[in-house]
Amino acid sequence: MIKAILIFNNHGKPRLSKFYEHYSEDTEQQIIRETFHLVSKRDENVCNFLEGGILIGGSDNKLIYRHYATLYFVFCVDSSESELGILDLIQVFVETLDKCFENVCELDLIFHVDKVHNILGEMVMGGMVLETNMNEIITQVDSQNKMEKSEAGIAGAPARAVSAVKNMNLPEMPKNINIGDISIKVPNMPSFK
């Protein structure tokens, strides 16, 4: 099963954390830090698997990760999962995010944590994979958005804030996440390994 799904940026700032086993809040934060430490010190071009940190269960668990531009996507899984399968799953997740947010970038994850959780919820539930078909996932997310829109009415108006915020002068202006194959707007980015 998948024990945890973590997304953090190159500086170790968590952007999403989802644990499928209960840990105390404190331990969760420690796990995120430990995982970042393990993953970030690895070179590019080495393999995408490594043994899990002590806190999350040591060598019985594997960390399977991908590094896209500014973000690390890390899945911590036990021995019942196929490593390459999970690698593909990460890809499906990112492609789905990319479709839902239209060129997803780190800011989308920051400002729409709830949406990201929703999308993830359509793929993984209780640590098990619910759906791998991207179109199916997007259909579900779409129908939720429609419901949201229909309910929003006037309350949904104050929304321009986000786009304004996006153009504010931010300390690090993240690039688009480069997911290799599908519609990329940023030229000359090396495709991920």
């Binding site: 420690q30 799953l89 499906v92 994979v129």
Partner: protein, 966 residues
């Protein structure tokens, strides 16, 4: 069109997030967050009712704050309000909050459960999915109790939407994992298995996880899934890449589901049905064939997906281990991957090949890749991959290639990553021992190990080489010569000095003929290292010196000179000082004959499992560490440990009065053993000069400074004693050693010894998992009046127990006066973050302080009559628990600590015993009579137990304790 339009959002939230992101320092961030928390808190508490939008906004803020690592301890109620709303947006955010910030407050859960119940019956698929997600995320027992009956119904109902079915399957799986007792599959089994045939691939994807888990637990009930899985797999494998439409991923049809199907099949042996098996073999062959076809796409995703299936197919082939043809093909395929340019594939190929190497069909085929693997060990850039290569070399090693592999691993050790060195050392040591044809090669290898990676050579490794040298006379001379040469290096590792000291002390005579290694040269060589060594090593060297005096009388004066010098005889270390004094005295007083007997060559060690192997197993594996295994290890490992060494009195002399069977005599173990069992002067040396009290006082000091131990690391209150603590205590009334407690994580073994009113208990805490216990602390406490009755002293234990390791703790016990309650032992540690808090009763009972008293019939009854006041007697009549077996009863009574008196009672069926309880203040005589009615029908058998003693509380307590034993 993007599915999430970027415009909609909440202004307040966006502003808050931007504020946080613009904070220049951590302090500013915390300040901003605290301000926001105060704001939200006041809004939630305020009089004005908040509208759904505001609630949603604030809950989102809380979620964001939580993600940044701040505790959120409020807002749950608002979240429950949101999830009970009819609006999707509010409901969704409410559920999200609860899922992220799970709270086990039962009042809250009750409210949530109500909302979930409504949503499940709403027939709105979106709401149902939200509710199912929430159950799966929280997964508490209360939720399982509320919904475990309902969810299977939703899962198999004909009119349930596919997306709801998917969620229901995984929700049920989650509940089954938390509370298997509440999820009763009985009537649903067959319909659940048939979900494998569902038209919707998503449903199959979700259901297969559920079925796999259920099959692992109840393989028989679910075995029909095998044929269904095979036919589903076969349909996927033989389909064209376009057949499965959306489930085709980069030209590979349903790769995820294929992997899961292959995993499910790994829960079972090969299908018995010939047709099914044939179909499966065909699938596996097709998968292997496809690997050779040219790729349909150059994208890495395409090859990933294809290879994911391939690796699972290979895992299944290895699992079946019955098709030589497929095994060899699998091996060849992996061989290709070993040289693949993708690091991931090399990693996985090495990993899979490890399991393949243990199959008899493919072991030879795996061996052909040895050069590639060695090359991987040398050249891979990624330590994860190198580690796998080392594992594989270890797995493929046999007699034919051992020398090559060991040599390669040794040379790799010189540059290996620090993180894997210890494991590498263990592996080399094991392989060298296992495949040693000539033992000189073995000795060379281990000495090389110490030379190259001395810091990583654990005690087990060098203990083992000494065991082997002592047991094999053909290698002793060679070993002596080799260590002598090795010691000549200007800087040699302390472990080398230890091995050298030990071996020369035993077998130095075998090379003494050569003037270049004459006795005096040997001694000077050893002694030149002495001052650079730690205390345990020096202690060992002192023992080697006294052995030299026996082996080479001509060195006697030189060695005595060394022993006599102030730095030895007045050494501040009590162990060294004592050895110097004792050895000096021994060498000057004892005759040559006595000396020769005392310092005789060590007898061969009994053959045991290699202690190193045990250590590696512990390091690597989930295997439980039992006290027995540990003991085996310790006795096996410590060359010099143990009371069984009666025939080498010198070596056991300093140990003779040390109660622990595992305490070592050379004092080589680090602090715990040395400190806890200070070697006091043994029986032999007592004759030479009596220094008992000094040693005893050393012991007291040792324990004394420990009472000022730091407070336990974990701050939580000790848990109340476990419900079974009393039963566990009762198990130890008639025995002193055994396993006191065991759960999935921890095993606690006990060894104890009592003499007069004193006792010493060794507690062995074994970590059964492969993960460290951190913040490990134990506390022994005396409830109630006990502190005035019993005096307990103990040392703190190391706060860290490595996975598979065991630590020991000594409790010194002094009985001041008779007592009833048992002391409490509280153990706390963190395992994977969760605090474990266990309280047990320490099995110290009043009968432990019994001294058996032999007496004849007349005397017994005379005393019996003297104790005739009513309060001096305690009596119980009770049913026999396990039938009456005389031998068992006798054993129990002896275990109680009393003397079992034969031919005292006129009725030979009865048992009578006598003993005196020794406390510091007084002695309490105690007489016991146990009358069985053995003639009665089984099940009707009764005992009458009568206790008489000079103290009413003692009679009563022993009567209570003993009556639980039959």
């Amino acid at each position: 069109m993007p599915a999430v339009s970027k415009g909609d959002g909440m202004r307040g939230l966006a502003v808050f997030i931007s504020d946080i992101r613009n904070c220049k320092s951590k302090e500013a961030e915390i300040k901003r967050i605290n301000k926001e928390l105060a704001n939200i808190r006041s809004k939630f508490k305020g009089d004005k009712a908040l509208d759904g939008y505001s609630k949603k906004k604030y809950v989102c803020k809380l979620l964001f704050i939580f993600l940044l690592g701040h505790d959120i301890d409020f807002g749950h109620m608002e979240a429950v309000n949101l999830l009970s709303s009819n609006k999707y947006t509010e409901k969704q955010i409410g559920y999200l909050f609860i899922s992220v910030l799970v709270n086990s407050n039962s009042e809250l859960i009750r409210l949530i459960n109500n909302a979930i119940k409504n949503d499940l019956s709403s027939r709105n698929p979106t709401f149902m999915c939200l509710a199912l997600h929430c159950i799966a995320n929280v997964g508490s027992r209360e939720m399982a109790e509320a919904f475990a009956g309902e969810i299977p119904r939703i899962l198999v109902a004909g009119d349930t939407m596919d997306s709801v079915k998917q969620s229901a399957a995984l929700c049920l799986l989650r509940l089954y994992k938390t509370c298997p007792d509440l999820v009763l599959m009985g009537e649903w089994t067959s319909r659940v298995v048939h979900l494998l045939n569902d038209q919707h691939m998503g449903v199959v994807t979700a259901a297969i996880s559920l079925i796999t888990c259920l099959s692992q637990k109840n393989p028989d009930e679910f075995k029909t899934c095998v044929s269904l899985a095979v036919s589903r797999l076969s349909r996927i494998v033989s389909s064209a890449s376009t057949d499965l439409q959306d489930y085709t991923y980069y030209f590979v049809p349903a790769p995820w589901l294929s992997c899961k199907l292959l995993r499910l099949l790994q829960c079972y042996p090969p299908p018995e049905d010939g047709a099914v098996k044939g179909r499966l073999v065909e699938c596996l062959e097709t998968i292997l064939n496809k690997a050779q076809e040219p790729p349909k796409s150059k994208k890495v995703q395409h090859s990933n997906a294809k290879n994911a299936i391939l690796f699972e197919a290979i895992a299944l082939i290895i699992h079946y281990d019955s098709e030589p043809n497929l095994l060899v093909r699998a091996c060849n395929q992996l061989g290709q991957f070993l040289q693949h340019r993708e690091t991931n594939l090399r990693y996985l190929a090495l990993e899979s090949m490890c399991t393949l190497a243990s199959s008899e069909f493919s072991h030879e085929a795996v061996k052909t890749h040895i050069e590639t693997v060695i090359n991987a060990l040398k050249t891979e850039r990624d330590v994860s991959v190198r580690q796998r290569a080392a594992d594989l070399l270890y797995a493929m090693c046999d007699r034919s290639n051992a020398k090559q592999i060991v040599a390669e691993m040794l040379s790799y050790l010189e540059t290996a990553d620090y993180s894997i060195r210890e494991e590498m050392v263990l592996k080399v040591a094991i392989l060298a021992e296992k495949y040693a044809v000539d033992y000189s090669w073995y000795v060379d290898t281990i000495l090389n190990l110490i030379r190259i990676a001395g810091d990583y050579v654990s005690e087990e490794v060098w203990y083992r080489v000494i065991q082997i040298v002592i047991n094999r006379d053909d290698v002793q001379g060679y070993a002596a010569k080799t260590v002598f040469e090795a010691l000549q290096a200007p800087a040699c590792h302390e472990n080398m000095v230890k091995v050298g000291g030990y071996i020369l002390g035993e077998f130095g005579n075998l090379i003494a003929g050569d003037p270049r290694s004459s006795p005096l040269v040997q001694f000077n060589l050893l002694h030149s290292k002495f001052h650079l060594c730690s205390v345990p090593t020096r202690a060992l060297l002192l023992s080697a010196y006294i052995k030299f005096i026996n082996l080479f009388p001509e060195t006697k004066s030189t060695i005595q000179e060394v022993l006599r010098c102030d730095s030895q005889i007045r050494n501040s270390d009590v162990e060294l000082q004592q050895r110097a004094v004792e050895y000096l005295k021994l060498s000057s007083i004892a005759s040559t004959d006595v000396l020769a007997t005392v310092l005789e060559e060590m007898p061969p060690f009994p053959e045991r499992e290699s202690s190193i192997l045990a250590k590696l197993k512990k390091k690597k594996g989930p295997g439980a560490v039992s006290v027995e295994l540990e003991d085996g290890k310790r006795e096996g490992g410590e060359l010099n440990g143990g009371g069984e060494r009666g025939d080498t009195p010198a070596m056991s002399a300093s140990n003779a009065s040390t109660p622990s069977p595992s305490a070592d005599l050379l004092g080589l173990r680090p602090a715990p053993a040395v400190g806890s069992a200070p070697p006091s002067v043994g029986s032999l040396l007592v004759d030479v000069f009596s220094e008992g009290p000094a040693a005893a006082s050393a012991g007291v000091n040792d324990d004394g400074f420990l009472s000022s131990a730091p407070p336990p690391a974990a701050s939580e209150e000790p848990a109340p004693p476990l419900p079974e603590a009393e039963d566990l205590l009762n198990k130890f009334v008639c025995k002193n050693n055994g396993v006191l407690f065991e759960n999935q994580l921890l095993q606690i073994g006990i060894k104890s010894e009592y003499r007069q009113n004193l006792g010493r208990m060794y507690l062995f805490y074994g970590n059964k998992t492969s993960v460290q216990f951190v913040s490990f602390s134990t506390a022994v406490s005396c409830p109630g009046e006990l502190p005035t009755q019993l005096n307990l002293q103990t040392k703190t234990v190391e706060p860290l127990i490595e996975g598979g390791a065991q630590v020991q703790q000594v409790v010194n016990i002094e009985c001041l006066t008779d007592f009833i309650d048992a002391p409490l032992l509280n153990i706390k540690f963190r395992y994977g973050g969760a605090l474990q808090n266990i309280t047990l009763k320490l099995p110290v009972t009043i009968n432990k302080f019994f001294q058996p008293t032999e007496m004849v019939s007349q005397e017994f009854f005379q005393r019996w009559k003297q104790l005739s006041q009513p309060q001096q007697e305690a009596q119980k009549i009770f049913k026999s628990g396990h039938g009456i077996d005389t031998e068992v009863v006798k054993a129990k009574l002896l275990g109680l600590g009393t003397a079992l008196l034969e031919n005292v009672d006129p009725n030979p069926e009865n048992f009578v015993c006598a003993g005196v309880i020794q406390t510091k203040g007084q002695q309490v005589g105690c007489l016991l009579r146990l009358e069985p009615n053995a003639q009665a029908q089984p099940g009707e058998q009764m005992y009458r137990l009568t206790l008489r003693s000079s103290k009413d509380t003692v009679s009563k307590r022993i009567c209570d304790l003993l009556s639980e034993q039959f």
